[in-house]
């Protein structure tokens, strides 16, 4: 592990859905300006954990959370307004989910909610965000067209632009390429690597090669526990725990 600054510090995090314990005593430091990948089989808790980082689990009934999560040293479950938290910690989902409105309005949605009304200012944010999301050249002539009219890969980059428009510090990506073709997938991966200069990125992926290609750190989850967390090159060359080895090499049963 290197000495870069921790963006998130997670201490003894437990999460229960009713009586079912989905996360068990998770402890980890997530570094700033790095890509951290969460891997593990379905139901291992990785997406649940991702959602605790911007309190998306607050929306689920019967959720109980123990332990602490600190963002830049501030406890996100007690000392910060949840709306403020989510503007600092944005999220991109598995299925591209543009709003049924124009590309421009999708990207301007967040800034408008945050009170920006001036057209020239919005124009600037929209262009900057679409450029950052590496899709400006492809959509600049159809900003007024429906975001639903472009391809899945383009929709996902529009959604990333929409996330970037509110200037978050962290971007959570929950299997952002699982619905995309290989070329769109690689574009999103290149984009993630480009974006980590300015943002901290945390990505849940079932695609092991994706984790190994783009992430700096990888955490392996199994049955609600974090089994192993380390530098990606170490995890994929020589994992310490046999369970990690069995998972990444595809040995089950």
């Amino acid at each position: 592990m290197n000495d870069t600054v921790s963006k998130f510090s997670v201490n003894d995090l437990d999460l229960f859905y009713g009586s079912f314990q989905a996360l068990k005593k998770i402890n980890m430091e997530i570094k700033e300006n790095e890509i951290t990948a969460f891997i593990g089989p379905s139901g291992c808790g990785k997406s649940t954990f991702l959602k605790t980082l911007n309190r998306m689990n607050d929306l689920v009934e019967n959720v109980q959370i123990g332990g602490n999560i600190y963002l830049d040293g501030v406890d996100i479950y007690s000392d910060i307004d949840v709306i403020k938290l989510r503007s600092r910690v944005g999220m991109v989902f598995q299925q591209p989910n543009p709003f049924p409105m124009s590309i421009y309005d999708n990207v301007a949605y967040g800034p408008r909610i945050h009170g920006i009304k001036k057209k020239n200012q919005l124009d600037e944010i929209v262009e900057k965000s679409l450029r950052q999301a590496a899709i400006w050249d492809e959509v600049k002539d159809k900003l007024k067209k429906s975001a639903l009219a472009v391809s899945g890969g383009q929709q996902q980059r529009v959604c990333i632009a929409r996330t970037l428009a509110v200037e978050p510090e962290v971007i959570l990506m929950d299997e952002p390429t699982s619905a995309l073709d290989p070329i769109s997938t690689l574009k999103i991966e290149d984009l993630a690597v480009e974006l980590k200069k300015d943002y901290t990125i945390i990505i849940v992926t079932h695609n092991m090669q994706q984790a190994s290609r783009i992430s700096d750190k990888t955490a392996f989850f199994l049955l609600g526990e974090m089994i192993e967390y380390g530098d990606t090159h170490q995890i994929f060359n020589n994992p310490v725990d046999k369970k990690t080895e069995d998972y990444i090499t595809g040995r089950f049963g």
Binding site: M208, S212, F236, N238, P239, T249, R251, F252
Partner: protein
């Protein structure tokens, strides 16, 4: 268990490396025998067998590339496959050296008989043990045995120096044996190189087991 095809391919690869190692072990034993008896017929067989080993190397190399392309191995699987690609080069070089020594055996036979240098048998015994232990340690991923092989290399190097000095003395005393002594000098160099290749292989076995690259 998932990935049955992949697991079978890895087993097949493992077995082919053992097969290649066994053939080279046979060549080494024959080389030692041919050297003791200056047996030209056996030496010729060793030279011919070298082609078989070259072919095996090519096949294993192709299998490794295919597995990498089709199965995207990682972690211990990747370490094993990449190491095998290095190991088979060393095994093939050992076979080359058996053939090289055989050429000198054929050459020695054309010259007046000269006494083999002292300690040659001891050097051969030490080198042979290294090669056999290396192949054994690959078969069972025996880290301790592989480390012993690495430690033994100095012994063979020392024999090389002692025998080389003896050969120089022999040549200084009797100019008539210079041609034979030069042949023996080449032979002990190849024997010393075979021990180096065994050491290299042992280092790759260490990498397969531990993930640590040994620098030599």
């Amino acid at each position: 268990m998932t990935r049955q095809v992949f697991i079978q391919e890895l087993e097949q690869l493992h077995n082919n490396v053992i097969k290649m190692g066994s053939i080279v072990e046979q060549s080494m034993n024959d080389t030692i025998l041919a050297l003791e008896n200056i047996d030209v017929e056996l030496a010729k067989k060793i030279i011919i067998r070298d082609d078989e080993i070259d072919l095996l190397e090519q096949n294993i190399e192709r299998d490794c590339i295919n597995i990498i392309a089709k199965q995207q191995p990682i972690a211990s699987d990747l370490r094993k496959i990449t190491s095998i690609m290095k190991i088979i080069t060393d095994i093939e070089r050992m076979a080359d050296h058996c053939a090289d020594i055989s050429e000198y055996i054929i050459d020695l036979n054309k010259k007046p008989k000269a006494k083999a240098p002292e300690n040659l048998d001891k050097m051969v015994t030490a080198m042979k043990k290294m090669v056999i232990d290396t192949i054994d340690s690959f078969v069972t991923a025996d880290l301790k045995k592989a480390n012993n092989v690495i430690a033994s290399d100095d012994e063979v190097d020392e024999y090389f120096n002692v025998i080389r000095d003896d050969l120089i003395s022999m040549m200084q005393v009797n100019k008539d044996v210079i041609p034979q002594c030069v042949d023996y000098l080449m032979i002990i160099k190849y024997l010393e190189r075979m021990a180096d290749h065994a050491t290299n292989i042992a280092e790759w076995i260490t990498f397969i087991v531990t993930g640590d690259l040994v620098l030599s």
